[in-house]
Amino acid sequence: MKPERQTYRDHRIEVRVPEVTSERERAADSAEEQPKPDLLIDDTPIPYGQLPDGSYYLQDYAYDSRRDLMDLARGYLDHRADAAEILADRKRRGGG
C-alpha cells in the first residue's frame, strides 16, 4: 500500500506506511510481509482490520467494509457527520 494523504470534509486523512529501516525489515518487505500501514484522521490513529475477503473495516465503523482504506475513511467521516446531524436535529426538536 502506498502512502496517501487527502483532506475530506475538513479532516485530514492519511495512510502512513512505516519506514523500513533494518535489514530484517527489508527482508520481510521483500518477502511481502510488509508492516501494516497506519490510518490517521487529523493525526489520530484509527484502529482498523482486514476481513477474510480482503476488505478493510474500522473498529468503530465495522459494518461498511471496503477494499480501499482511504475510501473507507471517507465513508466513516460521512457516517460521523450524518450521525452528528441526526443527533443535533433531534436535540433541536426536543428529543433525547
Binding site: 482490520g49 476481513l51 477474510p52 473495516y57 465503523y61 459494518y63 457516517h79 450524518d82 433525547g96
Partner: protein, 360 residues
C-alpha cells in the same frame, strides 16, 4: 422448545422478562464478555466467511443460555428491520430497548442516512438463492450489515454485542437462515462444515445446522384457510393453480399450508408463500390465482400482495383484498380461486375464509 418471536408479538410479561434478564447479564459482566469475544474474533472468519451464520447461531444460543439463568422461560425476540424502520417504532420505547441507550452508554443514532435498511423484496430475493454460498454472502452484506450502521454507536463497532439490539438483529438473521434451510432441505452447507467455530474448538457448523436440536423454533406463521361457505374445503394450490378442495393426504395438507409473510409490495399487507415449493407465492394473473416463483418484478409483487380485511360475509373471518385491484377480492368459484369483484351474498361468502392452524 423455546419460541423466538417478533418483538411486536411479545406479551407484556415476556417483555419484562427479557428486559430483566438483560439487566441481569449486564450486571454480571456477561454482556461485556460477549462483546469482547465478538470484537477479538471479528476478522477471524466469523464475518465474510461461510461460518458467519453458524458462528452467530452458536453465539446467540450461548447468550440465550445466560439469559435463562435469570428467567428459564426467556427467549431472544427478533427485530425485522425490513419492516420496523422507524426510530418511533415500539422497539425503541423507553420501557423496552430504548432504556438501554443512556443506561449502557450505547450512543445510538437511529436513522443513519448513509445506509438503507433492507427491503422486504431484498429479503425475499435472498430467500430464493439456490446455494448456501450465494445465500449467506448476500444475507451478510445486503441484509445484515446496514442495521448495524443504522443504529450507530456501539452497534456500529466491533463490540456491537454490547448493545442488546445486536441479539434481536441477529435473531432475525438466524431466522432468515432457518427459513432458507426449511425451503432448501437438500442444499449442502459447502466449505467448512466440520471445521471448528472460532473460539469453540469442539463446535462446528454441523453441530448447529438443526436449530430445533438447539431447543428453539421461530414464530414464522404458517396458516391454512378454510372456506366460509364450504367449511370442509381449504384454500390450496394444485398443479400451480389456486383451488378450494377437501384435504386428506399429506400432499393436500402441504398444498393447503402457507407461510404468511409481509406483503411483497406492501409490508402492511400479506403474501402467501407455499411451504413445499421454495419461494413460490400465490398471485393473481389474468384474474386467476396461481402459484408462481418469485420473479422480483413490481407486477409480481403487487399481484401477490393482499390486504387482510374483515370477512365480507362474516367479520370474524378474513377476506383478501388485492392491493393493485382494490375493488377485487380472492374468491372461489367452481372450486377454483379467482380475483373477482361483486356485492351479492354468494360473492361475499365465496370471498370469506377462516384462518386455521396450519394443516401441515
Amino acid at each position: 422448545m423455546g419460541l423466538r418471536k417478533n418483538y411486536r408479538d411479545l406479551t407484556a410479561s415476556e417483555k419484562t422478562r427479557f428486559v430483566e434478564a438483560l439487566h441481569h447479564v449486564k450486571f454480571w459482566g456477561v454482556v461485556q464478555r460477549f462483546a469482547d469475544e465478538h470484537g477479538s474474533h471479528f476478522d477471524h472468519g466469523i464475518h465474510r466467511s461461510s461460518h458467519f451464520l453458524p458462528w452467530h447461531r452458536e453465539f446467540l444460543f450461548r447468550f440465550e443460555l445466560e439469559l435463562k439463568k435469570k428467567h428459564p422461560e426467556v427467549t431472544i425476540p427478533y427485530w425485522n428491520s425490513s419492516i420496523d424502520q422507524s426510530p418511533a417504532d415500539p422497539l425503541w420505547s423507553s420501557t423496552f430497548i430504548g432504556q438501554f441507550d443512556s443506561g449502557w452508554s450505547l450512543r445510538r443514532v437511529l436513522g443513519s442516512t448513509v445506509v438503507s435498511l433492507p427491503s422486504p423484496s431484498t429479503v425475499e430475493a435472498n430467500q430464493a438463492r439456490a446455494t448456501y454460498d450465494t445465500f449467506w454472502r448476500e444475507l451478510e452484506s445486503r441484509i445484515h450489515d446496514s442495521p448495524h450502521t443504522w443504529v450507530g454507536g456501539v452497534m456500529a463497532t466491533t463490540l456491537s454485542p454490547g448493545d442488546p439490539v445486536f441479539y434481536m438483529h441477529h435473531c432475525w438473521i438466524d431466522q432468515l437462515w432457518a427459513r432458507w434451510q426449511l425451503s432448501h432441505p437438500n442444499v449442502p452447507f459447502g466449505t467448512g462444515l466440520n471445521d471448528p467455530l472460532m473460539g469453540w474448538p469442539d463446535r462446528t457448523p454441523a453441530h448447529v445446522l438443526d436449530h430445533y436440536a438447539l431447543g428453539y423454533t421461530y414464530d414464522t406463521p404458517l396458516a391454512s384457510f378454510r372456506s366460509a361457505n364450504y367449511p370442509a374445503r381449504y384454500l390450496r394450490h394444485r398443479n400451480f393453480l389456486g383451488e378450494l378442495t377437501e384435504v386428506s393426504s399429506e400432499g393436500d395438507r402441504r398444498d393447503a399450508t402457507f407461510r404468511v409473510v409481509p406483503g411483497l409490495a406492501d409490508p402492511g399487507a400479506v403474501s402467501l408463500a407455499a411451504t413445499n415449493f421454495s419461494n413460490h407465492y400465490l398471485r393473481h394473473q389474468g384474474f386467476r390465482l396461481k402459484l408462481q416463483p418469485f420473479s422480483g418484478d413490481d407486477l409480481f409483487k403487487a399481484d401477490a400482495t393482499f390486504r387482510r380485511v374483515a370477512g365480507l360475509s362474516d367479520s370474524t373471518k378474513t377476506s383478501f383484498q388485492s392491493v393493485n385491484h382494490p375493488t377485487h377480492y380472492l374468491r372461489h368459484r367452481g372450486f377454483s380461486l379467482y380475483l373477482d369483484t361483486g356485492s351479492d351474498s354468494l360473492f361475499r361468502s365465496d370471498a370469506t375464509f377462516q384462518r386455521t392452524n396450519s394443516l401441515w
